[in-house]
Subunit: 292 residues, 2 copies
């Protein structure tokens, strides 16, 4: 009985040591990354991944060394959108390497680890937390100026885990669609970020109105203006509206970044303006940091 | 030491007894419900809740006694869509009563239990499981012909919990949008249902094409035909395509069922045809059951 208990204790001690080592490695690796921004949404299907991918490409084009952590364990879609489906993480002596995508964007996604892209991940909370800690601590991201973290929608396990693992995050961007039903969940996302003490960089209103490419009529498929309204109400910055463009979906399906393929479209211009606002936020933060 | 261990044992025994009693009550209550169908999606934002609400209304209009369990703990939107925001569950001697909505639809949603609709629920997996078990076992649903369960998107904790709590479910309906990026997650949802041994009633392709109300041009905002294609590929029934109609979002925001407000629209007609197919599935199942 005593020997059983002591061997159980040994196992627990061993586990504790592994987690501590992981957290140490995590700290060292994350220290090489200039800025970390999480992209969140209260509800799914608001185009969060498409926005993340296009923001990443825009930053990369502007000269940033960019990484994307696709932390959406249940529905990783970043690889598909960057034309990286079926790719695998490579293992070398110092650790596991991200897949390098267009514009040298370094991408890590659960999708690269799955045996088959159609396999569902039926995982419970604690297992997900362990997977995320390992992803963050064991991957050789190298030097990056910016890491965008595409979080799964909602205010559940993964966003919570990421927030706990990365207390020094620069902030979060909240993506929403304009409808009122979505506004309730945006408020939840704002409160979630505030509860965890994460700065809110701002709200992006995606799928904001649609211009018929045939006749030019404006139809508000998911209403319009709701994101701006909620930002005012909650006293957080509004980053901009991205109109619906059917080519965003087409390009995402083809694995081509929309912001490059259709750079003169109103949606691309809106995205570029949003990038400028995010850059201003990061620069202000750096200047403040320097004053300390 | 011994007394501490025995008191811990007592606590565990007590917990076990509570769970067993809950499961007993659950069995009795669920026995009064003719059919149980879960509405799932691999990814969020495909209009799963709007489809659930409109199917529920259509069944109620057809004479069914209908209940909706809004099991989307992180983003409950069913109450808003049925004009029931701010309502509360009432407690009487036999238990907790559902909120009665339009067409006598009995609705239970986490939203009715939250102190404030903007509060996020930062809950871990095991807590969610306990909440769901309690919702299902302690609520006086009464006699129902059909219960629709609006599950949160993905293949995570809640769908898993519900499937474990309701092994005698009639089947699941999978809602998707037509884009290819969505198809990957539909496959995951199909595999999820198969892994858990749940019959698949069929796939609904929502937001399938858009007809400009001004000029009549058809624009495939989220592509078109992807749901039908995936149903063929995975050898599961295809229930139908629901076109995009900006009034679905408007009506959802106003808390009015679209299928009643715009019953002659192509989207409403598509919904009614889907209801007929689901009825056929349920009738066939009943007939098979009778032959046994």
């Amino acid at each position: 009985m005593v020997s059983k208990m002591s061997s159980e204790l040994e196992v627990l001690e061993e586990r504790k040591r592994i987690v501590e080592e992981q957290e140490e490695r995590l700290k060292i690796k994350m220290g090489k990354i200039g800025h970390k921004i999480a992209v969140i949404s209260g509800k799914g299907g608001v185009g969060k991944s498409a926005v993340t991918v296009n923001l990443a490409v825009a930053f990369a084009v502007n000269g940033y060394r960019v990484g994307i952590l696709d932390a959406d364990i249940h529905g990783p879609s970043v690889p598909k959108m960057l034309g990286l489906s079926g790719r695998r993480l490579e293992v070398g002596p110092p650790g596991i390497f991200p897949v390098v995508g267009p514009f040298k964007i370094r991408v890590v996604s659960m999708d690269f680890l799955l045996p088959d892209e159609n396999a569902p991940i039926i995982w419970r909370g604690p297992l997900k937390m362990a997977a995320l800690r390992q992803l963050l601590s064991d991957i050789v991201w190298g030097e990056l100026d910016l890491m965008l973290i595409d979080l799964p929608p909602g205010t559940g396990d993964e966003p919570l885990s990421i927030a706990q693992l990365l207390p020094e995050m620069d902030g979060v961007i909240i993506v929403t669609i304009p409808s009122e039903v979505s506004q309730i969940v945006v408020k939840k996302a704002v409160n979630f970020a505030r509860t965890l003490g994460l700065p809110i960089i701002g709200v992006i209103e995606n799928m904001s109105g649609f211009i018929c490419p045939n006749c030019g009529a404006k139809i508000d498929i998911f209403q319009s203006g709701g994101g701006e309204k909620i930002a005012k109400e909650m006293e957080i910055p509004f980053l901009g509206k991205i109109p619906i463009d059917q080519r965003i979906c087409e390009d995402s399906d083809r694995g081509k970044p929309f912001i490059i393929e259709h750079r003169d479209s109103p949606a691309s211009k809106a995205l570029m303006e949003i990038v400028q606002k995010i850059e201003r936020f990061l620069n202000q933060k750096e200047n403040k940091g320097g004053e300390k």
